[in-house]
Amino acid sequence: MNVACEPSQPNEQATQVMTMVQAIRSALDVMMARDERVVAFGEDVGYFGGVFRCTEGLQAKYGKQRCFDTPICESGIVGTAIGMGAYGLHPVVEIQFADYVYPAYDQLASEAARLRHRSAGEFTAPITVRMPCGGGIYGGQTHSQSPEAIFTQVCGLRTVMPCNPYDAKGLLIASIECEDPVIFLEPKRLYNGPFDGHHERPVTPWARHPQAAVPEGYYQVPLDSAAIVRPGAAVTVITYGTTVHVALCAASETGIDAEVIDLRSLWPLDLDTLVNSVRKTGRCVIVHEATLSCGLGAELLALVQEHCFYHLEAPVERVAGWDTPYPHAQEWAYFPGPGRVGAALKRVMEA
């Protein structure tokens, strides 16, 4: 496993080995303790602590006024959060699965996203909308989607997707403190262990992963900053979420010295890190789990050609989910695993 090259402990805090679920819970715990304005709610979020247990124990610790269950109504969860944001709270709401965010889309795209602009800064929606995304758990078409592109396309929203416990906690804290509305996508296949796409192999726990050493207290991973998770010279892989681990695996299996960039913040993004890398390597592969066409990869590709065209030595490739609903039984034919990413790396190197 490749070690991240950014410092994982920016401070002197004691660390604990955490899963992504524990890291997310720790972020919420830290923020609820620090800031009275932080409240957490959503379907099954209160007493039970969420279907993925990300809010477990928060109601017992902070009371029902600050952590509670909601009706099964995503537009209401987000709509009330916007009103609370206008009041001055910093709500963190959970959509049980990203596949169920669509009823809340109007409140996000038309309201949260534009409130600051349309009121010339009088009212804002400093809300964080957490949701598990992505597949790899045999969830079928309604528990596997990666809808980031419908958010990255909306001006006024920030979209974030961590791929390890350290980043999950630091980015979630940064999102909660951010005065803009943040869509916080949590790749559910990574909740309890890293996943490189080799579904046929035994599940790996987070315990042995360097990014599972998480400071116990408060820290931020800044928004709009990408991470170079594997420095390399031959080709740049731009990716985020579960496919970061897939890309690392593909690099090691093909022996290609890829520079793997984890975007972390999908939009607004850290353009400099991408551009500097592609200008250095001259080659680029873009990987995401979401459907290919009109996806975020298309925007990334456009940015690469706009800013790196004269440095490119090969056509840029995209590896993504096929343009079909996420299948159930055929999950592994759909998922952009290390085989497909590795083949793209080889093609780009041979071009």
Partner: protein
């Protein structure tokens, strides 16, 4: 052989159409003074009768009747009359300004002034309103400077919203007036959220959320009712039933076999249907609902029965879909005339004072319009610089917007 008639779709129709007078008996307008006034901690189920009846205080002669007649200082009645008249005169002036192309668009609230003005007077100044575009009466009652309102309408250099919003889509945090959205209905849920936040923080401010009869058909309406009920949110849920949603009669929104207040009872919310053109009834019911909210008894849904006397907006022509004399025949009358008559009956008002007030308000509006015009109108291009559209998209401008602003060359 099929023993039944073939199935057929029922598409509701108003009784009146151009050239055919409306039969207003569908309103079931009860006489003044008949509706009972329950205790503040009433069981929401026990409001079922009030949700299909109609709370009315002012009778045909302009006298206050029944248990809802508020003990109200003459000062408040005068303030209410002034706010309603100012709202009406302001609307009329702004319509003219729109015709003169000083603004792109306008929406008046002719005929429904009592709803916003009396309600606002029954609230505290720091209670938060989540309005629709037809509650300019809130801003006028809370005395937003007309100059600022008109600059917004003119989208000029002093528009507080920097030309970003259509005319009438005001925002005024200091006056407890939430930024208007063009996606109507969304604010109803947000108002509930604001009220929940106030409760979470142990505050004592309440929220007042607004929606039109037409938009009660949106899921946001039902969502707001569910959340308000579940969390007993300190919010007043106002439905302004002005009979029309652009060209669609209120029965198309679902008002035919029930009332809009009736939906509240089904959701576990104390609900009342009220004569919205009766200043005293609006004031008394608003005060009751506000007290309930402040006592942690939770939300109240109020259907204000009124009439949209003007076109939907400056882009609409109601002569195409409803009788021309409809407002004149509307059984609940004109809210300004009714309060005026009541004040005259009390010996607190007369024609001369009314005339003088109208002249004074006209002068104020004309002066404010002139002052605003000094800073330009949409037509003459004195607007906020184009570069400002990149501001406030995010709190801090991200790199891609700085690049785009440069590309625009503004």
């Amino acid at each position: 052989m099929n023993p039944h008639e073939p199935l057929r779709l029922h598409v509701p129709e108003p009784t009146g159409r151009p050239g055919c007078q409306t039969d207003f008996s569908y309103l079931r307008a009860a006489p003044a003074g008949h509706a009972r006034k329950p205790a503040l901690d009433v069981d929401p189920k026990a409001t079922a009768g009030l949700a299909v009846g109609m709370v009315r205080v002012l009778d045909e002669q302009g006298n206050a009747q029944g248990p809802w007649a508020p003990s109200i200082a003459p000062g408040i009645l005068h303030a209410g009359l002034k706010a309603m008249l100012k709202t009406r005169l302001f609307d009329a002036r702004m319509l003219t300004a729109q015709r003169q192309k000083k603004m792109s668009f306008y929406m008046q609230c002719l005929g429904e002034e009592a709803v916003a003005c009396a309600h606002t007077l029954a609230l505290n100044a720091d209670d938060m309103c989540f309005p629709t575009y037809r509650q300019q009466g809130i801003l006028i009652t809370r005395q937003m400077p007309l100059f600022e309102m008109i600059c917004q309408l003119f989208s000029n250099a002093r528009d507080p919203l920097k030309g970003r919003q259509l005319p009438v889509m005001y925002s005024n945090k200091a006056k407890g007036f939430f930024s208007l959205s063009g996606n109507l209905g969304t604010q109803f849920v947000q108002g509930v959220g604001w009220a929940m936040a106030s409760a979470i923080r142990g505050d004592n401010r309440i929220a007042s959320a607004w929606i039109g009869d037409g938009f009660t058909a949106e899921t946001d309406f039902h969502t707001a009712l569910t959340f308000a009920h579940v969390y007993r949110a300190p919010v007043i849920l106002n439905v302004v039933n002005n009979q029309w949603a652009i060209s669609s009669f209120q029965h198309i929104a679902g008002g035919e076999a029930t009332t809009f207040a009736g939906r509240g009872v089904g959701s576990g919310i104390a609900s009342l249907r009220v004569d919205g053109n009766d200043f005293l009834a609006v004031y008394a019911v608003s005060q009751w609902a506000a007290e309930r909210a402040r006592h942690n008894y939770g939300p109240t849904l109020i259907e204000w029965v009124t009439y949209r006397a003007g076109p939907h907006s400056t882009s609409d022509d109601p002569s195409k879909y409803r009788p021309a004399d409809d407002w004149g025949r509307f059984p609940l009358g004109d809210p300004i005339a009714r309060l005026k008559q009541h004040l005259i009956n009390l010996g607190q008002w007369d024609e001369a004072r009314h005339e003088a007030l109208a002249v004074e308000l006209e002068q104020e509006i004309i002066a404010a319009t002139k002052a605003a015009e000094q800073h330009g109108t949409l037509g003459d291009g004195s607007i906020a610089s184009a570069a400002t559209i990149f501001e406030d998209v995010y709190k801090d401008m991200p790199a891609h917007l700085r690049r785009q602003r440069q590309q625009m060359g503004a």
